[in-house]
């Protein structure tokens, strides 16, 4: 089959590789109809996540048709159309029983690597380094899906791929970012980052009852999409974020802040240069600008929700601000399996149509081009969907 493989920092290529086979009895093989490039894929692409190996297949947002099931998969049959959640979870362990699926104890065979870095290991993830298990990813024609009796959700044919594909990651991730804010009526929520996950956090915050959402970014088309979702916006390239937020909230600060940015934050001026240099010299692995600012801006007793991906260590973490002002921090890779069914219902009843975020559709064969466009935010790109059976023309960038 054809698959999009990683070969080094910003070097990827679509290659011919063997077709996946059933290895565990609860596996299914899915023929992929749509797969997306995620912002967190860029952390791999840019070489910030350790334990990648040449030839690793990328991608963790995918859906398609079940073409084979293992002996112990009783809830799916060949021909079912499914969306696959990015964390791999067994459904039987202590954490799965508590619906903390991204912490599954049994799905990461390389847990020891993660233990060395994090103290304890999170769940396995498709196409996301060897640290999270070393599973082939979904930017391919087919994928082997372990624990197919727990993860994949069947979707009705009345909904298009683009309406349901993002149940695999960014919709539940954006949703969980907002849910962790424990939103009360009247709350103002500030959101750092208007990439795809940020866009879903904005809409989720409103669905969860926020009064106001203030979104922060510098890319005009992303700010524009945030405004279309009902948010007020702050362009950090033009305004001082702290001052603008205090101005909007009478000096008290937002009730909760969501970090939808993660480890490769950008910031204006000298602060960014400082963290960029430290990261390049391996003195810190994560650039913490968004998180620092979110903590400093959050109101006393408020909540900072960290859903953007971090990988290692950071510098100048404002623990004093956090502690003295009774701020709660909530974090986690999204427990996607927990949210897929209820969010599918939201899509079915018309509360939200996730396809709004798609700006580019292209062939799987053009994945390397897609990464370049997405990374460099060329061509007003916000979200790219790759299709293995693309029949479009040219280089496939249609929007």
């Amino acid at each position: 089959m054809r698959a999009h493989c990683w070969y080094g920092k910003t070097i990827t290529s679509v290659q011919e590789v063997p077709d996946p086979q059933i290895l565990n009895q609860r596996d299914a093989i899915v023929k992929i109809s749509s797969t997306a490039i995620c912002g967190s894929d860029l952390h791999l692409y840019n070489g910030f996540i350790p334990t990648m190996q040449r030839g690793d297949i990328l991608g963790h947002e995918f859906m398609g048709e079940v073409v084979e099931v293992g002996r112990e998969v009783h809830n799916l049959k060949v021909g079912d159309r499914v969306v696959v959640p990015f964390p791999i979870a067994c459904g039987n362990c202590f954490f799965c029983k508590q619906e903390m699926f991204s912490l599954c104890e049994n799905s990461n065979p390389n847990a020891w690597m993660a233990e060395k870095m994090f103290g304890h290991a999170p769940a396995g993830i498709f196409g996301y380094s060897h640290l999270t298990g070393g599973y082939a990813g979904g930017q391919a024609e087919y994928a082997r899906v372990p624990f197919a009796d727990v993860g994949p959700i069947k979707v009705p044919s009345t909904l298009s791929d683009e309406q349901v594909l993002f149940l695999s990651d960014i919709f539940p991730t954006g949703w969980m970012g907002a849910e962790m804010c424990d939103i009360k009526p009247g709350d103002t929520i500030a959101i750092w980052g208007c990439g795809p996950v940020g866009q879903f956090s904005i809409r989720s915050a409103f669905l969860l009852g926020a009064e106001r959402v203030i979104a922060i970014d510098e890319i005009p088309e992303r700010l524009q999409m945030a405004e279309q979702g009902g948010a007020e916006t702050i362009n950090y390239a033009e305004q001082n974020v702290y001052e603008a937020l205090m101005d909007k909230t009478g000096g008290r600060g937002p009730d909760a802040c969501i970090d939808d940015v993660g480890m490769e934050a950008h910031a204006p001026g000298i602060i960014h240069a400082y963290d960029r240099v430290k990261q390049a010299m391996m003195l810190e692995t994560d650039r913490p600008h968004a998180l620092r600012e979110a903590i400093m801006c959050c109101r006393n007793g408020g909540t900072v929700s960290v859903i953007g991906v971090y990988g290692g260590f950071m510098d100048k973490f404002p623990i004093g601000s956090l502690m003295n002002r009774s701020i709660t921090i909530k974090t986690g890779q999204a427990h996607v399996q927990r949210y897929m069914r209820p969010l599918l219902e939201r899509i079915e009843n018309g509360d939200i149509d996730p396809s709004f975020v798609v700006t580019h559709r292209m062939s799987l064969e053009d994945a390397p081009l897609g990464y370049d466009i997405f990374k460099n935010k060329k061509d007003n790109c916000i979200k790219i969907v790759l299709k293995p059976d693309w029949t479009g023309n040219g280089n496939g960038t249609v929007h």
Binding site: G124, G133, G134, D149
Partner: protein, 347 residues
């Protein structure tokens, strides 16, 4: 508390395969140091002025030198009196420190013969190095025995977990290096372990202690190529959260080249290997089989990772720990309740 429990476990398992048994070379060195202690002690006791002269220390210090002589003799006797002379040798290390301090103080005396003190100090330092080396060899149980301990929590009742482990034929399903364990009856079993270059190592073992749902310990029989012992303890986790499993393993390779090979097999990171085995044990108990990813078909070490892409059928034939070898019999009552948890979020 936890330490006590572990020590109790060790007592069960280490009946013969004593981890603390010092190596022959360490014992020989200790004996040499013992004779050295007694010789030097006698010289200090009987000829303190000569010692003072050799080491460049003031001749008024003969009283102190005699005391140090008594200390040396005591250390020597301690070394010979003990089967494992660890304390005797450590007491020599303490004495060396005292000697070095005294020499340092002596050097500050304006009338001191600096050249001789330096010579004496160099000699004491050389002996100190020997003492420390010997004492560490004796203290560590590590020079011969390879010891690994590990633990995990399994989301099953102690009765289930014990029953699975007690059937030794199940062990190869999660212990990567164990090819087979055959039940010979009467608590005896025959073990076959995969070695490097396709060589197998085999031995017979017997159960030492077996307390249902609590503990199992075993050890190899006399004249095994690989003298080894193991203990596994099952504790009910608080709050009905399954079973805490604690394992101790001990390997004492005794027989020449074969022993060295096994040492290599188990020696590099024995605790890492045990951790991996316990992770697979948990997988077999909780999900019914060992969970494999594309990268870990040949093991979870850095060197054995393959790219995260599907393996060709020819490559899969070489893979170890495939579910076909590890799966439990599904469809029995053993199988765990499965299926997607119902949505219970804020929605």
């Amino acid at each position: 508390m936890a330490t006590n429990v572990e020590r109790g476990t060790m007592n069960y398992s280490m009946e013969r395969a004593e981890p603390g048994l010092p190596s022959e070379s360490a014992k020989k060195l200790a004996k040499g140091l013992g004779w050295f202690s007694i010789g030097l002690g006698l010289a200090e006791l009987l000829a303190p002025r000569a010692i003072a002269s050799i080491s460049g220390v003031s001749k008024e210090r003969t009283g102190l030198i005699r005391l140090y002589g008594l200390r040396e003799i005591a250390a020597g006797i301690t070394i010979f009196a003990q089967e494992k002379p660890t304390e005797g040798v450590w007491s020599r290390v303490a004495g060396d420190a005292l000697d070095l301090t005294s020499l340092g103080l002596a050097a500050t005396n304006p009338s001191a013969k600096k050249g001789r003190i330096a010579f004496a100090t160099a000699n004491v330092l050389a002996v100190t190095a020997l003492d420390v080396m010997c004492a560490m060899q004796l203290s560590g149980n590590g020079t011969r025995g390879i010891h690994a301990k590990g633990s995990c929590v399994v989301n099953r009742a102690p009765e289930d977990v014990y029953a699975f482990w007690r059937n030794f034929q199940n062990l190869p399903r999660f212990m990567r290096h164990v090819e087979s364990v055959e039940d010979l009856g009467d608590g005896r079993s025959h073990w076959k372990v995969k070695g490097p270059a396709g060589m197998d190592v085999e031995w017979d073992a017997t159960i030492v202690a077996d307390v249902p749902n609590e503990v199992i310990t075993w050890r190899s029989l006399e004249n095994s190529d690989v003298d080894n012992a193991g203990a596994v303890r099952f504790e009910r986790a608080p709050g009905g959260r399954g079973t805490i499993v604690k394992v101790n393993l001990e390997y004492n390779p005794t027989a020449g080249a074969l022993g060295a090979m096994v040492a290599k097999l188990f020696g590099e990171e024995p605790e890492q290997q045990l951790d991996d085995d316990l992770r697979r044990f948990k997988q077999v108990m909780e999900v019914g089989e060992v969970v494999v990813s594309d990268a870990t078909l040949f093991g979870t070490g850095y060197m054995t990772q393959r790219p995260a892409q599907p393996a060709a059928s020819s490559e899969l034939e070489q893979a170890e720990m495939l579910p076909s070898q590890t799966a439990t019999n599904y469809g029995t009552e053993e199988a765990l309740p499965q299926g997607r948890a119902a949505g219970r979020s804020t929605l």
